[in-house]
Symmetry: C2
Subunit: 263 residues, 2 copies
């Protein structure tokens, strides 16, 4: 492998072998390029929805061939960080796109195709700043007692309350977030966080269980306390696997189901 004659000495991506370690850690050129593009994405050099420079431009900028840049972008596209559009360019991925209203929501109506039921109606129950408990802090990589934004809301489809969500966000990164803001933004919450706070959720992990609601939860979802619900605990991450959101959802599955593809 060879190093790159570049502005930043390329400290990202794979470490240049701390000498004496078992793995010499070979890193192909295209991965170094990928790391550099990633840095620019992170730094906000190109905003969500915008086009990044053309492959030729990037190749010139990094002094490599177009094919190498291409491979780097292929990787980023595979991770859903950018979207390629033939004839137009490569664009920074965003949650604010027509195509898939809720990229991370895998709940589908039992009847027919998705989306036919229209967008969810949202009802914000509360949104306030609190001190993080031990568990929330640990999950979000904060210290107990740090400020977090806590929100609770109900999503309804065609008038039927279907999802009850509790959301925790690091207070630091989301100063000034209000219930009004959450309620008024027309698209997905993640799109608002992108636009208003520059925080882009890039991937997420979910743990799913079957549970029974307590009395309050049952009332909010208009079901009896003996109705089994899906408990979906999601941790969403920005770049570099930094956790930025914890979300605990209760899903009714009498009219909807969680859909998953395996391969």
């Amino acid at each position: 492998m060879s190093s790159l004659p570049l502005p930043a000495p390329d400290d990202s991506a794979p470490p240049p072998s701390p000498a004496g370690l078992p793995a010499p850690a070979f890193s192909p050129l295209y991965q170094q390029i990928k790391g550099l593009i990633l840095q620019s994405l992170q730094a906000g050099e190109w905003k969500p929805g915008e086009a990044i420079p053309s492959e030729m431009d990037l190749a010139a900028r990094f002094r490599v061939s177009q094919g190498t840049v291409r491979k780097a972008i292929d990787d980023l596209a595979a991770e859903n960080l950018v979207v390629r559009r033939q004839g137009k360019g490569t664009f920074v991925a965003t949650h604010a796109e027509r195509q898939v209203q809720y990229r991370f929501l895998k709940l589908l109506p039992d009847t027919g195709d998705a989306g036919v039921e229209g967008p969810a109606e949202r009802h914000i129950l509360e949104c306030r700043r609190v001190r993080a408990g031990a568990e929330i802090a640990r999950t979000l990589g904060l210290r107990p007692g740090d400020s977090v934004v806590q929100a609770r809301r109900v999503l309804s489809f065609v008038g039927v309350p279907t999802i009850l969500e509790d959301i925790w966000l690091p207070g630091q990164a989301f100063k000034g977030l209000t219930a009004a803001q959450m309620a008024s933004y027309p698209g997905p919450t993640y799109a608002m966080l992108e636009l208003d706070f520059g925080v882009r959720m890039v991937r997420a992990e979910e743990k799913i269980r079957a549970v029974l609601p307590d009395a309050a939860q049952a009332a909010l979802l208009q079901v009896t306390p003996s109705t089994p619900l899906l408990s979906v605990e999601r941790v969403a991450y920005t770049y570099n696997d930094v956790p930025m959101e914890l979300r605990r959802g209760l899903y009714r599955t009498d009219t909807h189901h969680y859909h998953n593809e395996l391969s």
Copy 2:
């Protein structure tokens, strides 16, 4: 695009434009190659676990450059149909591999990492041939009344019954499948189906709900009937999106959870 001077006139992959249709349907060379490799996989020219010919060999066989074969194989690898191993070759994917014991099972123990609890203990409750009802038939692409193999079993982890599964398989493709066979095979069921019947499950879809068990189900899982369980309905497909299995599972989520990655 140009056609290929090949044994089979390449009727797979994209149709050569039925004349007069809106889409001229351009198909790149590498996709045609991919289709041809797919046919060989389907035809069993190379068995699961075996190596397919080297990129150079395939390039010579199809009269294209190595790069083009490479792109085709990249696609197949992305779909988990083959596995690349540097320095060794490209291998037909199989469910009978050390690495991931259960490729399609996303239930993990709550405590620590997976696999530490060891393999599941299986207990076959029944395995018999029945006539397909309307719903089963529709899901498996059969006619109502066609023969299907129906099996029921319980999977336990460290002695705790955790999964109750009902499995339906087309009788046609699995003649002679017995309970003894299911019980005696040491690895995943899908590995046995590959080995003994040449049927390879390539992808699957799951619909997940929260439900309460009936008395019989509760007894088998050793829980009370008021214990909410995950209902996981899985349809597994072979090549060409042909459905080959319907599986309805009930998962206990008091000690395990369904894990999913989103991006």
